[in-house]
Symmetry: C2
Subunit: 243 residues, 2 copies
DNA sequence: TTCTTAATAGTCACTCTGACTATAAATAGA
DNA sequence: TCTATTTATAGTCAGAGTGACTATTAAGAA
């Protein structure tokens, strides 16, 4: 806020609309997927876009993001409440929406693999889409999605975020899958294991018999997310940080 | 944007105002300072706040941030154009401004030590203030400032941002000062030197005689910022990441 | 000169990591 | 049942990076 001068009166201009856009990721079948909705209106009618919506007068952007997430995915209010929703950044180019001046606060979140989003209720036609197949999107959503992917990739390096992609109990192989899928690289299994187990609070062992896999091979031990939020030392990507 | 439903019409409600707030840091006399302006209007009249202002209809938030920075500091348009301005996050609590619904996009930037901001022109009374002395601030600016300090601290670990605090040519001692001042810790000089020189593209040596210091001791060699933008491996804070 | 100060050079042990090899525990199929 | 195959887990080893040091160099001050 400019404190002393009054060169500019915001009420003299057409107002801004404020929206949230959501980049919601999940890992299914070893591929990174993102939640998209099909637009029913112009512009970009019939095209795909990130879910989102208007911030209402009485709510913060973060609250609006949670509300929209719950509406789009059919997740319970309670589940969404406990989720880690991360504010990505705000997109404010004047021409990003041809209809009016829309400033959008983007959020990103990670979900474990879920059933297809419910199409009913007030949710638009929504679908999990492989990340590489998610283009072109409406508005500047390609850019938002790319930024979200970057952010998630780098957050995996120094936070425990990856467990957010996993169910409550998971194997180290599944956790490694998350890293490999998001980063798009292969990791050495023994080294990954050593690193994860050496990081205090990242995962904790679950007592009891291993899960029935149905597959071949020795069944893996189960773990659940630990108490730590950040990893140190970090678990860096093979090629170092991205440019 | 909600694509298919029309349960909510943003035009039916009082509009949002969109502003930018700036957390501009510098290092002077081995202390971290932040640029503050004194408010001339209610609310918080006479109190200190981060500089900032309204985003105009035809400009993006990033452009508004540059414009405000130039107005507040008196820096030339050209200088501000080349600066690294980083978007921090967006603050959107409904009650953050008692007058109306204001959503603010916060930016942060690092400057080398500069003369006191010009008080003339349309700039408010502005002053460099030691970071610890910058509280309480108007609105939610204490929170924004804390977030900005966190962000800058952690960016120093894996980017070349620190050179932004330094003049065009600087000594490794001055660069180390930046790290020590922002992080609030002391670093081992030979180790810091080794680390910086081992990171390709962080700094490059300047040919020619060392700067006249006037002080005692062996004069230090001069360096300038290198071409790299990120550091790897990172230069981590002694106590690891902050919680 | 000699003392003090600050920059720079070098040492050493310890940790972490990437690239491996080896072993264990399950299933599928002969 | 036996064997091959698959996957999890254990362990090894050399090289890079780091923290905590000590030593040397180059300047001004006493």
């Amino acid at each position: 806020m400019r404190p002393t001068t009054q060169e500019y009166d915001p009420r003299a201009f057409p107002p801004f609309a404020v929206t949230v856009d959501l980049a919601i990721f999940t890992v299914r079948a070893s591929r990174l997927h993102v939640l998209l909705v099909q637009r029913g209106e112009e512009p970009y009618r019939g095209g795909w876009a990130l879910p989102g919506g208007f911030v209402r007068p009485e709510e913060s952007a973060g609250l609006a993001a949670r509300r929209e997430l719950s509406e789009e995915t059919g997740l319970s209010h309670r589940t969404v409440q406990g989720l880690h929703l991360e504010q990505l950044r705000t997109y404010s180019e004047p021409d990003r929406d041809p209809r009016m001046r829309v400033v959008s606060v983007a959020y990103t979140a990670l979900l474990p693999d879920l059933p297809e989003p419910r199409g009913g209720g007030d949710a638009a036609l929504a679908r999990w889409t492989p990340r590489e197949a998610a283009a072109p999107l409406a508005f500047d959503h390609d850019r938002i999605l790319a930024d979200a992917h970057d952010r998630v990739s780098s957050k995996l390096e120094y936070t425990c975020l990856a467990t957010g992609f996993c169910p409550a109990e998971f194997t180290l192989g599944e956790l490694q899958q998350v890293y490999e899928t998001v980063w798009g690289v292969e990791l050495d299994r023994p080294n990954f294991r050593r690193k994860v187990l050496a990081t205090p609070g990242f995962v904790e062992a679950v007592e009891g018999p291993p899960r029935r896999t149905g597959g071949r091979g020795k069944p893996a031990a189960l773990y659940r997310a630990g108490a730590a939020a950040t990893l140190h030392p970090p678990l860096l990507r093979p090629e170092g940080r991205q440019p």
